[in-house]
């Protein structure tokens, strides 16, 4: 398998208030590296404040890393070139209700990334939107609806449609499944797995729920205070957690894997 995304020695620190000679910094991420292959899912677990979301933001380009480089297919992703990055790395957020602009129809919402990133004309764009909506299990007619006309699960599908419309290679799911009801959540998991098979996507799943992590991911990375404390194959780590943080996480969810 070829390596899709190669992250090398990424770190992030924030400047805090301080005096001139006492410049203080807060290290959100200590240098870390990992790779992802196509068709695979990497799960990132950890407590709040462990730097998971910072890592996600850096990967998608919303934050610039203090150090380190990200390579996609061996090609360096440059810091300010969003056009290149948005086509390949997309993100879905936790609360789909607030991430969709309520004053735009679904068509306008999905049109935006296409206008900004592609040279398709209006008719082609419309066809693509139609096709993408069907791919995520909605109808083409839903194009003219507004976000408030959809239920929570459907809104999450629209966010997914917005993520896959540019045919990316990596999708980051930042707690994207946490706010959904159980039956909708498993519908969504099925859909995500189907899309992974069809389009060869790589997912980076940030989640608290170890059950989902177990079911969904191939590799796992446990983070604590900005450092990676344990990483490897999901099943092996869940069977034999070595680090204290991992053990505590598994304990706290009464999670037993035979």
């Amino acid at each position: 398998m070829t390596v899709l995304l190669d992250v090398q020695e990424i770190s992030k620190s924030f400047k805090l208030k301080g005096y001139w000679y006492h410049k203080r910094t807060f290290t959100a991420l200590s240098p870390l590296s990992f790779t992802i292959e196509a068709n695979k899912t990497l799960a990132i677990v950890g407590e709040t404040g462990s730097g998971k979301s910072t890592l996600a933001k850096i990967l998608v380009g919303a934050e610039t890393p203090t150090q380190g480089e990200i390579y996609l297919h061996g090609q360096l992703l440059q810091k300010k070139r969003f056009k290149q990055r948005c086509q390949h790395v997309r993100m879905i957020f936790q609360d789909s209700g607030t991430t969709l602009n309520p004053s735009l129809t679904i068509q306008e919402l999905l049109d935006e990334p296409l206008i900004l990133n592609t040279d398709l004309d209006e008719k082609e764009r419309q066809q693509l939107i139609h096709k993408t909506l069907q791919k995520v299990g909605l109808l083409g007619e839903h194009m003219n609806f507004y976000p408030h006309m959809f239920s929570g699960g459907q809104k999450q599908r629209i966010s997914l449609a917005r993520a896959i419309i540019l045919e990316p290679q990596v999708i980051i799911l930042d707690e994207a499944l946490a706010a959904l009801d159980p039956s909708l959540r498993s519908q969504m998991i099925n859909l995500l797995l189907d899309l992974q098979q069809q389009m060869g996507l790589a997912y980076i799943l940030i989640s608290h729920n170890l059950g989902i992590v177990r079911h969904f991911s191939d590799d796992i990375m446990v983070m604590s205070h900005g450092k990676v404390v344990e990483s490897g194959k999901t099943l092996e780590i869940m069977r034999k957690p070595k680090h204290k943080v991992t053990q505590r996480l598994i304990m706290s969810q009464n999670f037993k894997l035979k």
Partner: protein
């Protein structure tokens, strides 16, 4: 004896296009010292039910019930004031998002001492202040906060969410309630804190013999803590029984789907395989299906399902379905077949 005994409780909502039945004939009973879970997806009316129990619904909601008893007293016959007196002594409720429930401009200590009433104290009035402070500290110890002096002199925003929820529980415990209703107490928390809160509730239940009604949307988180579970769907009663009955032998197709869709219950299925789920989503209040509201999504639905099913009980395992998931006795099956034929 049953603490709370509710039979066929209906809650209706006045809308411009007539009344809508939001909660349709739900039964719920809580025994003394019971830890009951109330499970349902969002929009299934579980919070509404809890609010109806403590009587804080607005005027536009109308509550009717065949029986609505609290320790043998019929609540529907009491006036509002009498009912409030009774319930605020015996029942306490905690809500989700503790940060937004506490007053942000008042110290935790003041908020706590506000909740303690004078009838708990004895002695002269000049001793009250000291007693009150002692009672507050005792309450904080009860919910597992050891650094009481630091906690008392801080504002809600200075504390973490789990500590805030503990303070909320302490306020709820101030009047020594018999029943504690917890409406998704851990909705916005992470897992380690979630465990702490659940453990605290379980401790209160076992040590103080307090009954707890725990409301949640996630079946798999509850099963470790509760002894009995009631499941609701779209305002209708689905299934009730002990946790083992519900989780290991669900009889209703909806509960079955909930258990199947839980990733924790299905550790034996291979990773990345498809999970079994029901198609579609929960219906909105304006377009409720007639009869059994699961009907359009149910894999076992048949013609009879347009009539709402009656609740049947099998050894304390109550289920509301025409075609529950188990082998019926031959005679009953034949009767049902005849009913099906009769409608055709």
């Amino acid at each position: 004896m049953n603490l709370l005994d509710i039979r066929n409780l209906s809650i209706e909502l006045d809308t411009p296009s007539g009344r809508v039945l939001a909660v349709d004939k739900v039964s719920l009973s809580i025994k003394e010292g019971e830890f009951r879970g109330l499970v349902g997806e969002s929009g299934s009316g579980k919070s509404l039910l809890a609010q109806a129990i403590i009587g804080v619904l607005e005027d536009k909601w109308h509550v009717n019930a065949d029986r609505f008893h609290w320790r043998g007293i019929d609540l529907l016959r009491l006036t509002l004031a009498e009912r409030r007196d009774l319930l605020c002594r015996d029942i306490a409720m905690i809500f989700q998002e503790p940060m937004s429930c506490l007053d942000p401009t008042t110290l935790i200590g003041e908020q706590l001492s506000e909740a303690i009433d004078d009838s708990q104290f004895t002695g002269y009035f000049w001793q009250r202040k000291k007693q009150r402070k002692e009672a507050v500290i005792k309450l904080l110890h009860k919910v597992g906060i050891k650094k009481h002096s630091q906690c008392l002199t801080s504002y809600p925003h200075q504390l973490t969410e789990a500590i805030c929820q503990r303070v909320m529980i302490a306020i709820a415990l101030a009047r020594q309630p018999i029943l504690l209703i917890a409406d998704e107490p851990t909705a916005t928390m992470e897992n380690t804190n979630q465990g702490q809160i659940f453990r605290l509730l379980a401790n209160l239940n076992q040590l103080k013999n307090m009954s707890i009604l725990l409301i949640s949307h996630d079946l798999e988180n509850l099963t470790h803590w509760t002894s009995t579970i009631t499941v609701m769907y779209s305002g209708q009663f689905v299934e009730a029984g002990t946790t083992e009955q519900i989780f290991n032998k669900p009889m209703h197709p909806y509960t079955r789907a909930l258990v199947d869709s839980s990733t924790k219950a299905n550790l034996q299925i291979p990773a990345k395989s498809r999970l079994i789920t029901l198609p579609g989503s929960i219906p909105i209040l304006k377009h409720l299906p007639i009869g059994c509201r699961l009907g359009p999504r149910c894999p076992r639905a048949q013609k009879t399902c347009v009539v709402a099913p009656k609740v049947t009980s099998f050894h304390g395992h109550k289920v509301s379905c025409h075609f529950p998931l188990f082998r019926e006795t031959r005679r009953k099956y034949m009767q049902k077949q005849q009913v099906v034929k009769g409608t055709e």
